[in-house]
Symmetry: C3
Subunit: 664 residues, 3 copies
């Protein structure tokens, strides 16, 4: 069986033969776009959307199934507009992710039912919709809900009350004797309720269309992360997805960091998906006028970068938002990949070039896995929540008190590691596998995770005991899961970290910290570790060995310091600390390279690296492991050249290389 067609149409035909379930297992990543169907479009319009997809080698699309468009005043459904779309999709060999979208008057759709009665209405819509569309050959997957996640609240209702009562009854009885200032019940229940509702959707659909792919796209992952119980979602989803629109979701980054943020977003989703395939189900395709927190139009170069970077993160598919522009509601005329005359924009041309490159290399891209570097940045949902609770009325003179400090800090580590050529995993603590026999070669970083719940104290010890390396930085571990300060008395991580903090001291927005022979800019607080050797003295860094592993502790926000001040000292610090781990990577940068993104895929017989230059024109030297041979160019922007291990980049350029494994 030969999967390695060079032609988009060809493999789709094969795909149709073999059934999609197989397809997903072993096929090229698929790139497509949202088709926006709305009243006012003629059948010719609809036909044209799919023709454009086919012409641009896009075998997949997503369609939002607006109940508002289908349901007539008398309660009957008129599916004709959408029937036309599904038939056009079929004609043009495009498979469809169909998004459930019950009647609503917001741009993104409601996230929770308004009542039990509302739930019944939703069920009726889902039943009617699924019953009708399951017969269409073009249908590939149901997207259960568009962008669950609300920034931390749920809709109160009779349904929510009933579910919460039941949920509360199931919570474990607490051990007496501990101080528990705060219970994040509201937040935990919201997390549960989101999962419950998605699962409810899944059950409605499965009852009628049991073998269909089920998908959900989360969004705004850098702030909504604590709401998502991805491990639980895996039980009812076929694939996990995400929306990643820089203008909405990357506002905590500068524009030259958007490709980095795209990598991070994908890395988080991949971690959340676990063994499920993941897709980038909404990628900003076009311009903002009035939508987007910070308006932008992606350039062709960014489109290339984001696509390759997403593939470099191991995504099995990408769907742009959107092919065509909607005409109404907050964002009329925005986001499109095509022009108002339905010609290809420069972004669509760029996407097509990437698609052709992927399709030209089936030997590389049919089975790929993101290459794990061995470094994991862990965050706790309680850190998000505690950070939010501790934002006492308007106290935002300092970055660390302006919200989401833990994620900002973590992303500073992600970026610094990336400058060294190391691509870190990022995940919530719950998603990590704490039960391995050995963690040799593994590093965990806890960057300004202010709340470390009791349930992680032992696992963290076990991780280090079994050979792992733990790096703890910032005000990590100040609180437990009840907003209680646990550093005051018998700090539970004392043995693990080899010390205790005596005090934190609020100093300046940026102040210098001398550790070992380096000076790092630090933000706001200086954590002072009791010096076991010299009582009365304090230390700012503590290294410890614990079991077979080791720890490094700097209880001052050096990563937030890097964000607020110069990042260079922090990058050099990270580069030194990870020298040994760098040597383990198949391909890294010889010296730290700021404003570069590097993602590595494990492919048959070697590695594929996606490298993006977000800085000025420059030369970049790669270092490879002894078992890695000289690279072959898979894709290169126009000014890029490669001579041995040295690549020359123009600004904004992308280079994709295949590094074969050296014959042993």
């Amino acid at each position: 069986m030969n999967w390695m067609f060079r032609n988009g149409r060809g493999w789709m035909v094969a795909g149709l033969f073999l059934g999609f379930a197989v397809c997903v297992q072993a096929q090229l990543p698929q790139i497509g776009a949202q088709v926006f169907i709305e009243p006012g479009q003629t059948p010719e319009d609809v036909e044209q959307w799919f023709q454009i997809l086919e012409e641009n080698r896009m075998p997949v699309c997503r369609i939002r199934m607006f109940e508002a468009h289908m349901r007539r005043a008398d309660g009957a459904y008129d599916f004709s507009l959408y029937d036309a779309a599904f038939r056009a999709a079929e004609r043009h060999h495009v498979k469809v992710f169909a998004t459930l979208f019950p009647i609503d008057d917001t741009v993104g759709g409601f996230k929770y039912p308004r009542s039990k009665q509302h739930l019944t209405e939703i069920a009726a819509y889902v039943k009617t919709l699924v019953t009708h569309f399951r017969a269409f050959p073009a249908l590939y997957a149901w997207v259960l809900q568009n962008e669950p996640g609300t920034g931390g609240s749920y809709t109160e209702s009779d349904l929510a009350k009933e579910l919460r009562t039941a949920w509360s009854a199931q919570q474990p009885v607490e051990k007496p004797g501990r101080f528990r200032e705060t219970h994040f019940d509201y937040e935990e229940f919201q997390r549960y309720y989101t999962t419950w509702f998605l699962n409810w959707y899944a059950e409605q659909v499965k009852a009628l269309d049991p073998n269909r792919q089920l998908h959900v796209n989360n969004h705004a992952i850098f702030s909504n992360l604590p709401e998502y119980d991805f491990p639980k979602w895996r039980s009812f989803l076929s694939t996990l997805g995400a929306s990643a629109h820089p203008s909405w979701h990357f506002t905590m980054f500068r524009r030259d960091q958007y490709t980095l943020a795209m990598a991070a977003n994908n890395d988080i989703i991949r971690a959340g998906a676990g063994s499920l395939p993941f897709w980038l189900t909404e990628l900003q395709g076009g311009n903002n006028l009035y939508s987007g927190g910070r308006a932008m139009c992606p350039t062709a170069e960014e489109t290339t970068q984001w696509l390759w970077t997403t593939l470099g993160c191991g995504a099995k598919g990408v769907i742009f938002w959107s092919l065509n522009q909607r005409a109404t509601i907050d964002e009329p005329g925005e986001w499109g990949l095509i022009t108002f005359q339905r010609k290809a924009s420069d972004r669509l041309l760029a996407a097509r070039t990437v698609i052709e490159s992927v399709q030209a290399h089936p030997e590389l891209f049919t089975t790929t896995h993101h290459h794990a570097s061995g470094v994991t940045l862990l965050v706790t949902r309680e850190s998000f929540w505690t950070d939010k609770k501790q934002r006492l009325g308007g106290n935002d003179a300092f970055e660390a008190r302006r919200g989401n400090a833990g994620m900002k800090s973590t992303m500073a580590w992600y970026e610094a590691l990336m400058c060294c050529g190391i691509s870190a995993e990022i995940m919530e603590m719950d998603w990590f596998d704490w039960n391995k026999a050995s963690y040799r070669g593994q590093t965990i970083v806890l960057s300004h995770q202010i709340s470390i719940p009791e349930r992680w104290w032992k696992p963290l010890e076990r991780f280090v005991e079994r050979g792992g390396r733990l790096i703890v930085e910032g005000v990590t571990g100040y609180f437990d899961e009840h907003q209680v300060c646990i550093m005051q008395n018998d700090f539970p991580l004392k043995n693990l970290l080899g010390g205790e903090v005596s005090e934190f001291k609020a100093l300046e927005a940026i102040f210098p910290l001398e550790i070992e022979e380096q000076t790092l800019p630090v933000h706001l607080w200086r954590g002072e570790i009791v010096d076991a050797q010299k009582p009365g003295n304090v230390r700012y860094i503590q290294r410890n060995t614990f079991g077979a592993g080791e720890t490094l502790w700097i209880p001052s926000p050096i990563a937030l310091g890097a964000l607020q001040g110069s990042g260079q000292p922090f990058v050099l610090f990270v580069n030194r600390e990870f020298a040994a781990l760098k040597a383990e990577q198949p391909v890294t940068f010889k010296t730290p390279e700021p404003q570069m993104v590097l993602k590595t895929l494990d492919v048959p017989n070697g590695y594929v690296t996606v490298v993006v230059n977000k800085g000025k024109k420059r030369k970049v030297s790669f270092t490879t492991r002894p078992d890695v041979d000289a690279a072959q160019v898979v894709f290169a922007d126009k000014q890029v050249t490669l001579h041995g291990h040295v690549a020359t980049f123009g600004p904004e350029e992308t280079l994709v290389l295949f590094w074969p494994k050296r014959a042993q």
Copy 2:
């Protein structure tokens, strides 16, 4: 009959003989001030206010008729305080604009009744008041309401509900088949309701005092404009007025632009008034302590500039706010033309100098008309409303998304044209005369008017067909009147403008745009026009001929760009585009003169120009039409000199010239 008295008192006496109705038809512009009457003032105090007016040659005043001051606890009215005022006015030959002011506890008065019951109470007050005061000889006009206009909302009530139901029933049935995302019903009804209420007031008054002048002063015109249906107001008003307090109403301008803004404010009111005379019924006369959005005290020079500029716009009168200071309510001790000791401030002395100059030239100022340059800046109310609706939660990183972008953009054109010596008309589309046989010599500019309702598509075509010139700039015409993007498919202005936009692209807050041989700074979005000659290429400017006229289209915000970055390239662009029209003006600047205001009046046998220097000391060269002879100085600040066509100005100085028509 000789109207040309040189003495203020003299012509007032004549006025009294002939009746005011005649007066308004042909008399010198009248300048006066608000007299603030309030409890605590003695009869001597009241006498003194009018004595000061007379001494300063001010034959007109305005008085707010506080019901709160007149109505006793038992419901009876005590008019004595106001009677004294009207009698003092008569003694001092001052005529009175009396403002209806039913009981209210806000500084500016309520704008809509709270209920039908409230309306009945208001009617009773009006009846009592008008019945009492109509007999006073000093009474000249009723001001129906102080400053209608709320920034876009009305007071919900049983009355409003009833009126809205009736109003809705009268709205035309919509044609099927078009997409209509939004209906600006709330806004349209508010506009209707404001008109309804003013007309209701007019009817109450007319029933009792049928031959009296009726007046209304709007305010904050740069933002309240869409609420005002001036053409409808004309049916019940005698004169239209305005409040123009820089500290409250000009906050979108810099202080050195206030005189320009004063000109624009007057030009808008004149356009709204149509064939009715217009007055500036509230002009900031004094200092702010706590009131005013940006506190200021007008200088004597500004007072001179604002008065002359307002007269240069064709106003028939100006009333300062205020002669004396109120003692209470938000602005005690503020705004006055006189000192706390009731002496003339430097502003009052400046005003008196202007008054004397006007009165010294009855041959020039008795019948004047603003000289129409042939350029009209049109705005649509739907652009205001759409701009507001599209302000999605807090997205204000860019000026174009911070509110009122269409008016800001339009004012950049007004300023640039003024720098060229061309004074543009400014009006809402509804006020323009769309039914002329020819528009040769006429130019319309649509600057960033994001909503162009369907009802204007044909009229715009007709305007150009019949010889007009249409300049379209910014994101004009992106939406129809239903917040639907109409550029996506069959752009309705395609034929007129000679092209279609393929895409807008959000770039930077300021980026350079190359058009023809110029580089203009542009704000945020680049509109790309499909190049009919080279498919796949784009253009940033499109010129077209259509019928007997022509169009110029730059679908990028170059005017907002001029505001955000350097304005010079934009001024030079405008100067080039309007070279032919400049040659048609009686008097213009030889080369563009930033920070100058120039207004031209048609007067018997020639033109009067008011010229104000808001920049540094400088020489300014005028260019005149061949039929215009050498100028005579009517008024000149102290350092100003005129040699032939070259005037030398000190900073802040004003020059008024009479340019006779050359004997043919």
Copy 3:
């Protein structure tokens, strides 16, 4: 009887013998700390807190008596945790200020009862608590409420309504004939209600524990001042206290002004206390993470400065907030004097050094009084309230309209006088003694006190008539107590000040004002005084003699100007104006010294000065009165040296000197 023990323990023992009531009369100032008791603490923990106090020579503590910790679900009280604390206090010779703290869910406690029912519940708690704890020997004082003061509002309830009705009935009938725009009834009632509630607490306690000291600590004095009727409080309190946490309460100051602000805070409390002793009952002892408006950790040097400065203001005691950190509620792990390991922080070591120094000099510190310089800065509560009312919606382009301008302005005088070596009194007008036979040598400054109520017009005249000097600056006296402008007509202070303002003019945020031969930077408004000599001319400064005294009037905000621009010209102006008064001080600076704090105590046979350098390393020359002899060093930071009248300071250093009176 010899009180002058050199040992902290020793004199405490003596104290216990003699009873505390005597102690308060004549004992060394006492320095201690808040002990935070909360569930989760073991008896050993509690024991340790008091052991630490004793080791550090701290004989006094404060404990918050959380009803929430004591009251069980069945309504019974479990006092065991607090019993342990009181017994430990006794064992370690620590006396306790016990703060009443009925059940509440806010960090600082409620300020008014929620209802009459709630009042009954509070009474029950107080009864139970006082009955139980009055028997403990360690109990020293009851703190009736933690930090009364809300920023201007009270909790509406049936109780509040009933009290307000009764209060209103007691208000004097107003004379007719005056304009009264505003009645500050809400504000006056709140002030009354606060006093009522504190007195109610006092009565509850006295009924059960009649001879106990009663105390209250106010807070945020720079903004809450108008709420506090301190003269009335004196009738039920034994001592007056204050919270002064720079991170919460000094946000209108820069950090290098915090020591100055600490002095001002103490000076206000001392003035409020009258003949009662005053304590600084909460002084920031440690770090902020999330609490504090502007997070900080006091340095050891600041701790030294604040302690000495507070003692230099005449405080009889200081209690740090807090010894140990609370584990929960908004500020877990914050504010502590000890480390998480319960070791002394650098701050506690610094405090102990000060304590030892005080205890080493009983001959100086047992009976001390703040030395009165003869200058008093007076504020009116109506100025606070009028300033707030005149903050019309969001008009904050200028500092004078951003709130609390009168206090900011007053503090600029306080600082400028301090630079000259003169420590001014600060008080509300009501606290001043207006009935002296002579005010020779006394100066009152009214700095931008925009409201001067009628009841003060005569007393101000009397003050000057009897030899006082009155300095009036800024927009002082613009309003009466009814928000009515009283400068318009017959300005009531005309005779006293020797003139009238003709106008205020809003100019720039900073503009220069020429007065006499100086140029002062002024903020926003220029007040123009009618020139009696040259009509039509204006003056910016007016000097007048009135009776035996004199006045100086500059009706322009020169103090706010000093805050916004350079402060130097203002300091030089003040130094010149106060040359004669400087000569009367025992010790001052020879030339103005910016960034220095100097406080003088009258001690037996001489003076003690506390001098703090908040600037760079420098030499400071003192000038002394002829009757003052050469200084002896009581306390000096490490780099400080004294040679004759010249001291050399390092940055942040404190010097305490004893200046004996010269033998006559």
